[in-house]
Symmetry: C2
Subunit: 138 residues, 2 copies
DNA sequence: TGATGTTTGCAATTCTGTTGCATGCGCTAC
DNA sequence: GTAGCGCATGCAACAGAATTGCAAACATCA
């Protein structure tokens, strides 16, 4: 429903527009993280730059987070709706399937603590695993 | 010494050439991982594509590993010389310093085990931390 | 020497990310 | 209501990274 989509945008402090509704709606339908290019294809005909800026806006407002899975193109996925915690996206593992080439958030799989050598101060962490996803391994 | 460099290439199963010696020699001098662009600048005037293919060759033979630190350009660093273990590079943490913008291998800092949800099969893992490096925090 | 395969250099292309600018649109102050 | 203002959008253009194609140079060996 558009109403839900607009509510979610407003909850994130983003003014709803046709394009933003469209992008958020599309993201909600996804089972995995998607790239700007995929989004562009899925919503065609839309302007790539507008989608790009929409994603940036979403990211700034912590509605989506971006994932760098090493494939060259950043992927985007919605942040957990509940998540009162700040930066939950910094804490969970991402999984790239070598078989279906999709990238998944594993929100239940938290990144373990890492003990860094003396002097190194951690501010962010990302952990990407690659292998075979549940669907492809079944 | 060129002799050492050539020995190391041969040990990795790579036929030494002028360009390969040059690239490996340069990599040996680095205290942090470097990008293709940096390598190109440091070795100028060399051809970017040749250096690119040289790195690919090194990577295939496990002489270097590449690191995706989220800066857009892949960084390359030598693999541990000893490392009888396969893929040691899959196991250690990489650190990107927000201050000096350098990317370091932390070969002593291993990536902790991650328990994946049922059905996910892990083949590779990469963990990149961002923050302030020892030099910049001192 | 001549044939063969590998390495190199250069041109060119693709892809991703990003910026600039002009237009459009909605909202508010008058 | 209308003028003005700021944000959103669309289009053109650019920057940088990665990658491919091709032909020339080079090494190797029968
Ligand atoms: Mn995620
Ligand atoms: Mn490393
Ligand atoms: Zn899969
Ligand atoms: Zn530093």
């Amino acid at each position: 429903m558009i109403a839900d989509v607009e509510k979610r945008l407003e909850a994130a402090g983003i003014k709803p527009t046709a394009m933003r509704n469209l992008v958020l709606e599309y993201l909600l339908k996804q089972g995995s993280a998607i790239s700007l290019a995929e989004l562009e294809r899925g919503l065609a005909p839309v302007d790539r730059v507008t989608v790009y800026r929409t994603l940036k806006t979403f990211e700034e407002h912590c509605l989506v987070h971006s994932i760098n899975d090493g494939t060259g193109a950043a992927k985007y996925a919605l942040c957990q709706e509940d998540s009162g915690e700040v930066r939950h996206h910094d804490l969970h593992v991402h999984f790239y399937c070598n078989s279906c080439k999709e990238t998944f958030c594993l929100p239940k799989t938290l990144i373990p603590a890492v003990v860094l050598p003396q002097g190194f101060i951690s501010e962010e962490v990302s952990l990407v695993m690659k292998g075979v996803c549940e669907r492809c391994s079944a």
